[in-house]
Point group: C2
Chain length 208, copies 2
């Protein structure tokens, strides 16, 4: 059964159980989906309102982008757990002969790369979504300002949670070029995204 087809309470209970997956990776993807979803809602609550007629065209364009980002994050909720399960599956591979050991090692490296790429993709999406949220502050329905702030907070949690997952998996990767590339790209995304999230939150808080 797909994680996103579970009820919210079943998903949270499975998260809280002794099953190692879903864990922080899928939680971060859900953070991203909530963040992008809230941004889309704030746009929806702005469109068609006389008071915000000037913002309508931008809100429509932003809504479309936010909904697309929401769908991509929802997709990663399951894909991140599948990437984790691929690592777990390697532990069950035989390791008696040298050939088996080599195959196991190669499979592990490939699985760890998958567990790095999945959260890295979340980081890219969260950064894009935070740029969108930042652009909407002060230009959307003020009654939904707290919702837009919660969008920024969820996307902040998504990108930092994804970064923890990139870092914990990169530690086991032998391909130094791969590890270095993802570490550098991830740090660059964080450096771009966190100030956007913090500025959005602070500006919204000051407006309440």
């Amino acid at each position: 059964m797909k994680l996103v087809d579970m009820t919210v309470s079943e998903f949270v209970d499975l998260m809280a159980s002794d099953a190692p997956a879903p864990g922080g990776g899928s939680a971060s993807a859900l953070n991203g989906a909530l963040g992008a979803g809230l941004a889309a809602m704030v746009c929806a609550l702005t469109i068609g309102k006389k008071k915000y007629a000037e913002c309508e065209a931008d809100a429509r364009a932003a809504q479309e982008k936010a909904l697309a980002l929401k769908d991509r994050f929802v997709d990663i909720i399951d894909r991140d757990t599948e990437a984790f399960n691929a690592v777990s599956a390697v532990f069950a591979m035989p390791k008696s002969t040298d050939a088996e050991k080599a195959a196991r090692k190669e499979a592990m490296q490939s699985a760890l790369k998958g567990c790095t790429i999945s959260p890295f993709t979340m980081m890219e999406l969260a950064c894009e979504a935070l740029e969108l949220v930042r652009s909407l502050v002060g230009k959307t329905n003020a009654s939904a300002a707290s919702d837009l702030g919660c969008a920024a907070l969820n996307l902040r949690s998504a990108i930092q949670g994804a970064w923890l997952n990139v870092c914990i998996n990169i530690g086991g990767i032998a391909d130094e070029e791969f590890a270095r590339t993802y570490r550098e790209k991830g740090e660059a995304l964080l450096a771009r995204a966190l100030p956007l999230a913090d500025a959005a939150y602070q500006e919204i808080l000051a407006s309440l």
Copy 2:
């Protein structure tokens, strides 16, 4: 239908729609449930492991607390949206006569207080959960360190998101004593909780 009985994808889609609820309040409650749930999972992955035998008693006690906090957060996912819907219901009340206007005003004040108390309760729970998470850093299964970090991030999003909801609703409350009390108590909770979340995240990140 209760929000927590919807599938994860239905919940996210409803969040992203033009329906004003569920919004940031219920998203913050879900952040809290994910944070407390991840903390419980990390305890579960520590209990029974030889390497962490010394930590087992503490992990068991923490797991019990985390699961109870998770249940309380899950409960608030729906209760926060109910509190919001009570405000929306007031807008439908008649306002032709002075008596109707007075009744409407009183109902609005009561509904806004409900919308303040609900996120304030989340702030209290998130602060308690962050104290728990902070105490678990370095004393739980290192393979799940990123999950514990995601717990801290989700609880940080929960407490700040709840604070935005306290602030937006307190603005409309005429009872100055009520407003002042919740503002002061909320600021105190934030001042206690945010350093715990940031220290947990930074310490975990440095360990990866």
